[in-house]
Amino acid sequence: MSELSLQTTPEQQRALERFYHYEARLLDARQYQQWLTLVSPDIRYLMPSRVNVMVDNRQRGKESMISVERELEGEDSLGCPIREESYLHLMVRVERAFKINSWSENPPARTRRIVGNVELMAQEGDALSVLSNFHLYYARPGNADCIYSGQRRDLLVPAEQGYSISRREVVMDYANIEVPTLGLLL
């Protein structure tokens, strides 16, 4: 997406940021059940795989030569995305978090995320296409701490708590996957 974001009103921008800050706080506070209420039952939750592709000689000199999109094996590709999930998957993840035998999170990881660069890119009827970036600090007992970095490409629809997430694509910044899991709620 190379275009400038939509001209928003300060109120609309504020509403989006308010929503994302609330969401981030719920996730860092491990209030996943409440987080799930921000998600629409027909959500597509996606995380493309990121690969090293050949440079296409014919693209030389153009921005498309090194575009991020070329590196992504997403839902439309015949590669293998890291995650292609529905509400059911997210529900299983949330339920798992509250079982004493979900061993990789016992004791649970300590996380802190900063969400920013919130840009409203398009609006179709009610649905808002919104980009945001995040950095997440992750400390799991017994492991070295690490940082998650990525971009979220959301489709939001207005709802009681501000918005409801009806689609989220998380583009992670990784070469090899050096974090303990990409199965977090991001």
Binding site: M47, S49, V51, N52, V53, M54, V55, E73, E75, S77, L78, G79, C80, P81, I82, R83, E84, E85, S86, L88, H89, V92, R93, R96, K99, N101, S102, W103, S104, G142, N143, N176, I177, E178, V179, P180, T181, L182, G183
Partner: protein
């Protein structure tokens, strides 16, 4: 004090020293005695179907380019320039005529031959390019589309190396008239663990399911697995676990792919597609193999195949305490694209770096490596004796067969591992 391999694994391989996992000297021996002398998985022919196609691979820590030559044959070369050693290929996969080294632009054909030295025009002495190609992997063979390479010229043919493991692999591979396809680039997950534990986990450790994964796998589901489950060692080092379904089982209980989230919730068309494959199974692979519903498979030393969540995995060592764990989703090659896209989630929902289940496995592999570094407990080797001597021959299934709680698959693995290291420890 010098370390002797015979001190690490006892005669029946029921006791295995912590040092097998953590000692740098053991790892150095493994590189020579195992990774230098075994057939190692490089890729699948579906990844390089056209001349000029290539994918990257590894043989332990050695980077390899696996390619399809202009003569349609398969080549495997070390990805390192003969001039100063840089990798000449940087992409995970692609199609090319030449691999060009960035440093001084020596260029190599897709078969690995050196074709141009830009500097030579200015010089009188022309190097003999025929001697300066990329280093070939000594042996490359494929079976059912699975391509393996070996550094040792003397190794037995791949087919005899696989031995009766072929019987079990075919129960899956031969189910599909058009063969299988590996989707996309592998997920490359770096885990601070020793390479052998992911291997052992997929070789036959079905029983941890009820415990480690109890947050996700209900006890009743695990009971069903263990009730019908068999563990087989067709040849020491290889292993297969599966459920042998009763003859009157409903097709939906038997069919491959139905038990993954994609199969369960992917819609009628996918389920019909899976039933159709199962309907052909007996005529393709015979009655007993049509009733096999696989769980985990292992091919010595570091290739795994997870039938239930259809994925191939390779545990590439990066020293004693680190692995680069590669995994691919695998689908029938002739499935329509939209069905492939649903079936790949049978893998990714639960396994791989984003999977709901495997995050528990990777965590314990890391913790096991930490435990293996406790030198105060060196006199407390790990106990591998569960089910000692209880495996038997079976009237219809080749190899030794037992219940899944029997750890004989691991004993056979470590006995072979021990013998192969002993063969090189004094050389």
């Amino acid at each position: 004090m010098t370390l002797r391999i015979s001190d690490l694994v006892n005669a029946e391989a029921s006791l295995v020293s912590r040092r097998c996992w953590s000692d740098p000297d053991v790892y150095a021996l493994e590189k020579r005695g195992i990774f230098g002398r075994s057939w190692l998985f490089l890729g699948h022919e579906s990844q390089i179907s056209n001349p000029g196609d290539f994918v990257q691979a590894y043989m332990a820590e050695t980077p390899i380019i696996l390619s399809r030559g202009t003569d349609a044959r398969i080549y495997a070369n070390v990805n390192s320039c003969t001039h100063r050693g840089l990798p000449v290929c940087r992409a995970d996969h692609g199609n090319t005529k030449r691999f060009i080294c960035p440093y001084h632009n020596w260029s190599y054909s897709v078969e690995g031959d050196l074709v141009a030295i830009p500097q030579e025009g200015a010089l009188c002495n022309k190097p003999d390019k025929a001697q300066l190609g990329l280093k070939r992997v000594s042996r490359v063979e494929s079976w059912r589309g699975l391509v393996f390479g070996c550094f040792d010229e003397q190794i037995e043919p791949l087919e005899s190396y696989l031995g009766d493991m072929r019987f079990y692999l075919d129960a899956f591979l031969d189910r599909f008239a058009g063969g299988i396809e590996f989707l996309g680039a592998p997920h490359r997950w770096v885990i601070n663990a020793n390479w052998k534990l992911p291997v052992e986990n997929q070789l036959g450790d079905v029983n941890h399911g009820a415990f480690l994964h109890s947050a996700i796998i209900p006890r009743e589901a695990q009971d069903l697995i263990e009730e019908l489950g068999l563990s087989v060692v067709p040849r020491p080092g290889h292993g297969a676990t599966f459920r042998l379904m009763p003859e009157d089982s409903p097709v939906d209980d038997m069919a491959w792919g139905m038990e993954g989230l994609g199969g369960m919730f992917g819609g009628d068309e996918v389920q019909e597609y899976l039933r159709e494959i199962q309907a052909q199974a007996a005529s393709r692979v015979g009655d007993i193999r049509a009733r096999m519903k696989g769980l985990t498979y292992g091919i010595y030393p570091n290739l795994s195949f997870l039938w239930s969540n259809t994925s191939f995995k390779v545990s590439h060592p990066r020293g004693p305490g680190k692995v680069e764990y590669w995994s691919w989703a695998v689908v029938p090659a002739d499935a329509p694209d939209h069905i492939k896209k649903i079936l790949r989630t049978n893998y990714s929902s639960f396994f791989g770096p984003g999977g709901i289940l495997e995050q528990e496995d990777s965590e314990v592999w890391i913790q096991q490596f930490q435990g293996s570094n406790i030198d105060y407990a060196d006199d407390r080797p790990y106990y591998y004796g569960l089910g000692l001597g209880e495996e038997k021959v079976h009237p219809e299934l080749p190899g030794l067969v037992s219940v899944t709680a029997n750890e004989f698959y691991a004993r056979h693995f470590y006995a072979r591992w021990r013998d192969e290291l002993q063969a090189v420890e004094d050389t």
